[in-house]
Amino acid sequence: MLKRVNYIIGYLSLTIGSYFSLLILKPEKNLGEIYRIFFFHFPLAIASYISFFLCLVFSIAYLKKRNLQFDDLASSSAEVGLLFCILAIITGAIFSKYAWGEYWCWDPKQTTTLMVCLVYASYLALRSSIDEYETKARSSSVFGIFAFFTVILSYVSTRIWFSLHPTIITRGGIALEKEMVIILLLMLCGMLSLCSSLIIINKEIKRIERKVRNE
């Protein structure tokens, strides 16, 4: 029941959000038409950060409680987070091409986000190279704790290095107009619903795979 509500909320908010952000109510700013991709890029990035944080939480939870369902949740949130992170990099590269002239600028934020992708790709590589479930869960949980450092570095990379990446939530408040903030929050809500439903379905699939393989 809750899952169905989650799907409906996700679909409705993403539809309404993309309708408003792409077609109506959004006059151009001095950046031109290209700023509209920000309404997709920002929720994707936030959703990927939250997924990686959930991966850390579930890894620590597995090490404490030894319930293999936590390991299923950790690996599925790593996969979903990796997918959203790649999409965030692609949308960011498109924005970078039209705003600053090149797809890839070796900007600190871009580089550190690519490193986050590579870290979680190697997390999945580590998982696929170990056969037994308990050892796989233990090793990947420890690796998941190390992998979160890269995410923290990516998040603070705009603050400690000079970067072209715009920071919206600055000390003075939110630097956007009010209508844009509403649509942004709507898209964020939709992306988080999509992210959570993907994680839950992925976790169910892994649990059934484990049960089937144990027989």
């Binding site: 090490l63 550190t112 490193m115 590579l118 870290v119 790709a121 190697s122 590589a125 580590l126 190279s129 170990i130 056969d131 037994e132 308990e134 050892t135 233990r138 090793s139 949980s141 420890v142 690796f143 704790i145 190390f146 992998a147 450092f149 890269t150 570095l153």
Partner: protein, 215 residues
């Protein structure tokens, strides 16, 4: 100081046939010659500190996986686990052993590279400090991740894949620090960041290593 006995045991094993040391030394020498042959003097003067660090990194990466793999192949892993020491002492002993290994390689390769790459060094103390901290970081992460090789299907290949993305922030800071220390500039911020990273990684490794040594 029980972990020192682990270090002494590994040193004794290593001094018997010096295989790992020979391999690391030969590999560093060959890559040193290869880099100095394929790059012109002008390019070398710009990137020589970073190249030097990469040579040490690659030779460490290829041979650090041996610390636990040798234990498993010779069947001494169970003996280690049954010994009356904590598992964190095993890890600490192996970290110190890998540190000594890296130091001995660098003591020979570093003067050679200064001659071959034609690096001008202002002072000798700060590069040694940077190399010490760098070795410590490499040894800690390498020793922890080499315990993944015990149960993995690809055995020693899992170390480079997991090691490089996780140590990416550490690598960037240490290459900047090495370059600045060759020029004689101030490196207090970089030393601080490296120390923070080492403390964080050491805390996590030592506290989660007992989970990796189960079963």
């Amino acid at each position: 100081m029980k972990f020192l006995s682990i270090t002494k045991k590994d040193l004794k094993l290593e001094l018997r046939d010096r295989q790992t040391f020979n391999f690391m030394f030969l590999f560093s020498l060959i890559t040193l010659m290869l880099f100095s042959y394929t790059l012109s003097f002008k390019e070398l003067s710009v990137i020589s500190p970073q190249l030097l660090w990469f040579i040490f990194l690659f030779s460490a990466m290829l041979s650090l996986s041996k610390s636990f793999l040798r234990e498993k192949e010779w069947g001494t892993l169970e003996g280690l686990k049954l010994a009356p020491i904590k598992e964190t002492s095993i890890l600490a002993g192996k970290i110190i052993f890998n540190l000594i290994l890296l130091y001995t390689i660098q003591m020979i390769i570093f003067p050679l590279s200064v001659i071959i790459f034609n690096i001008h060094i202002k002072s000798l103390l700060t590069p040694i400090l940077v190399l010490t901290l760098g070795n410590l970081g490499l040894a800690i992460i390498g020793s922890t991740f080499s315990s993944f090789t015990l149960k993995s299907k690809v055995k020693e290949l899992i170390l480079p894949i997991t090691f490089l993305p996780v140590s990416f922030p550490f690598l960037t800071i240490s290459t900047i620090a090495l370059e600045k220390s060759f020029l004689g500039q101030q490196i207090t911020k970089e030393i601080l960041l490296m120390a923070i990273y080492i403390i964080a990684v050491a805390t996590i490794s030592l506290s989660t290593f007992s989970y990796l040594m189960e079963d």
